[in-house]
């Protein structure tokens, strides 16, 4: 089992739900054979800007089963948020062009207009954004923001909707919810505000929650509590969680699977435990080398990836990672700079990878990897 880096934090929310993070045993068998809840195929997100077209997401495919957590990781600008927003069509339609399929429960959401999407937003798919302070309206009470869409959807009266909002606030661990529901976002602490965001997402009992860096704006202790909360809620209700993060600690703590993104493409994907323990892509290795761990020697092996993420207005040819890759000499000829590596399954495993290097060629990482 992959031990959480957050093991040392005691949380009173759902400390007993840690068991459910265990990556493989409870979800294989029947579930895996079922059609995935979400299947993204060849998704592309382009922004037309003055400087040209930004290829934020470029031919991305992945799928997610009910009850599972898929973590999407990558450096800033790798297209994680663009992917999350594209699923619900939340991009500004004036500026973004989206292509590909976003199949949710058998329906291609990418083919729906604003009106068609409204039937999914908030009810079947809910979003949790990074910074609850800016993502919640400063001008409206929590009650108003939690119940507006709910009442419209269900026809519930004011009082019933309020009761439900209070229930949801209680469920995410907000003390004295009956009083606090009447307050404004600025009257909450950062962690409590993020709980409010999560309560908002739960109002419609969604099948899928997309959480875009839900803990990045919070301090470490609170981060752990929020992750516990999300994992606990997932265990309770069996929702699928798409967890966008750049924090590999988060991945090892709560995700079943992980998708590593670079420059708008998937570069490595698989069960979180396997990918973290034995990365098969040089970029994943680089990411793992650049994070501190609680268990490893804090000063050892901490090496950020050299160079910086590519300019998405003019991405490098071939493998987008090649200007920064320390393994490219090992690939014959100049393939890395000319040929885009396909994102394909590795033999005999559920894992996928996009690299010209032979599988298993990366030497085992020492010490620094999160274990």
């Amino acid at each position: 089992m992959v031990a959480s880096v957050y093991d040392s934090y005691d949380s009173n929310d759902s400390s007993d739900s840690y068991d459910s993070y265990d990556n493989s045993d409870s979800y294989d068998g029947k579930e895996a054979a079922v059609r995935p809840l979400l299947a993204v195929e060849d998704l592309a997100v382009r922004f037309d800007t003055e400087g040209g077209t930004v290829q934020a997401v470029n031919g991305l495919s992945f799928s997610l089963q009910r009850g599972r957590t898929l973590a999407v990781v990558g450096e800033s600008g790798s297209g994680k948020s663009a992917t999350g927003l594209a699923i619900l069509g939340l991009h500004d339609r004036r500026r973004a062009r989206i292509s590909g399929r976003v199949e949710f429960d058998g329906v291609d959401l990418a083919g729906l207009g604003e009106r068609g999407l409204a039937a999914y937003r908030g009810s079947r798919i809910a979003m949790v954004f990074q910074d609850a302070l800016t993502a919640l309206s400063p001008y409206h009470t929590i009650e108003r923001q939690l119940t507006d869409a709910y009442r419209r959807r269900t026809g519930a009266g004011r009082r019933a909707a309020r009761t439900r909002a209070v229930e949801m606030l209680a469920r995410v661990g907000i003390p004295d919810p009956a009083r606090r529901v009447a307050e404004y976002p600025h009257e909450f602490s950062g962690g409590m505000r993020q709980r409010v965001m999560i309560a908002m997402a739960l109002m419609g009992e969604p099948d899928l929650v997309i959480a875009d860096e839900p803990t990045t704006a919070l301090d470490v202790t609170v981060q752990a509590q929020i992750l516990d909360l999300l994992a606990g809620l997932q265990a309770e209700s069996g929702l699928a969680l798409l967890l966008i993060t750049h924090d590999l600690g988060v991945v090892s703590g709560v995700a079943h699977d992980v998708l590593v993104m670079y420059a708008g493409r998937g570069v490595e994907q698989g069960p979180a435990a396997e990918v973290l323990a034995g990365p098969e892509h040089p970029y994943t290795v680089g990411l793992l080398r650049s994070v501190p761990t609680l268990k490893g020697d804090p000063d050892a092996d901490l090496t950020p990836i050299a160079g910086s993420p590519p300019d998405l207005l003019d991405p490098p040819p071939g493998c987008a990672f090649h200007p920064r890759c320390d393994q490219r000499q090992r690939v014959g000829g100049d393939r890395c700079a000319t040929e885009v590596p396909a994102f394909v399954p590795l033999a005999d495993s559920e894992r996928l990878r996009a690299c010209h290097l032979a599988s298993g060629a990366l030497e085992a990482l020492e010490g620094s990897v999160i274990r």
Partner: protein, 324 residues
């Protein structure tokens, strides 16, 4: 809340004291002699001295100012005439107390200001929101073009042309002018229509542009995206969530513009022959009527202080983070 009102009230009193003192000083510094002006053609030295005495001009400035303040709070005598508190002075030019003249003139200016503000805000804000929501499309471009033309107009030019065409030539609107709202509401409304429309065309244009950009700015806020992500229909997303953010910006602008509107009232009242406070101020300056000038300046200052307080109150209503 109570503390806020107290602070605001004291602040207002202080501002009005300073304004009145400065008006006195400025007037005193002028080389002209108001007593000489109201003395007329057949002016003997005796009658001049008599007038100067009854106007209080023979006493030192500080004493004159003190008497003025005393009159405001306790009333005072001008020769045989008793001027009750709040007495802002007695106009020897008009042979009337300043307060009663102001009371006569104020409703006209107030009608003009309130009516024009309502029209400017509804038209300007309404079309501004519309342009923002349709940005980049034909309607937005048309509205922006119209707003540009409107904003380049001047009240006196547009007023005179509109009056000539709409009233004199084609008889589409009644003659502009002020009638008391209580004496004949229909006539009051008719007479105000052209001034209101003219002011609205000129100023609403700025509000179309301003609201449009405030709204576009607000639309890019993350909480608006959250509202969309919840599945709320566009109407609610725009008008309930985005608009609340834009409203604070528009309100700030309106607060700043109140003073400007007041300045332009001089032109408006002259153009449409409305005998309001602004016109009174102009004639008082021409006549060197010190008491009347002080009175109009104080009324204008009070107006601005009251309006700004109202704007602050609105802020606190709109934005719960603002504490009074």
């Amino acid at each position: 809340m109570f503390g806020y009102i107290l602070r605001r009230g004291l602040g207002a009193v202080l501002i009005l004291l300073v304004v009145s003192a400065v008006t006195f000083l400025l007037f005193y510094a002028l080389p002209a002699d108001p007593a000489r002006l109201s003395c007329g053609k057949t002016c003997t030295p005796q009658s001049l001295a008599q007038i100067r005495h009854s106007m209080g001009l023979d006493r030192p400035l500080a004493v004159q100012y003190w008497q003025f303040l005393h009159g405001v709070f306790a009333g005072r005598h001008f020769d045989a005439v008793w001027c009750a508190a709040p007495c802002l002075g007695y106009s020897f030019v008009n042979q009337q107390s300043v307060s009663s003249t102001l009371a006569d003139r104020f409703p006209a200016t107030l009608s003009l200001a309130v009516g024009a503000s309502v029209l400017i805000l509804t038209v300007g804000v309404g079309f501004g929101i519309l342009a923002a929501l349709r940005r980049g499309r034909a309607l937005d471009k048309q509205l922006t073009a119209v707003a540009l033309v409107g904003a380049s107009m001047q009240v006196y030019f547009l007023g005179i042309v509109a009056r000539y065409l709409l009233v004199d030539q084609f008889d589409l609107l009644p003659q502009p002018g002020y009638t008391g709202i209580t004496s004949d509401p229909g006539k009051w409304f008719g007479g105000m229509l052209l001034p209101w429309i003219t002011l609205a065309v000129v100023s609403a244009a700025t509000y179309v542009r301003f609201t449009r950009s405030a709204m576009i700015e607000a639309e890019s806020q993350e909480y608006v995206r959250t509202a969309r992500a919840q599945g709320l229909p566009p109407r609610v997303v725009h008008l309930r969530y985005a608009w609340r953010g834009a409203l604070t910006l528009v309100l700030t602008q309106f607060g700043l513009d109140l003073g400007v509107f007041l300045g332009s009232a001089v032109i408006t009242e002259t153009t449409f022959n409305i005998h309001g406070i602004a016109q009174l101020a102009v004639t008082s300056v021409t006549n060197l009527d010190l008491p009347m000038i002080t009175g109009t300046v104080l009324v204008a200052a009070t107006f601005i202080v009251v309006c700004n307080t109202a704007v602050d109150f609105c802020y606190a209503l709109i934005d719960p983070r603002v504490r009074l």
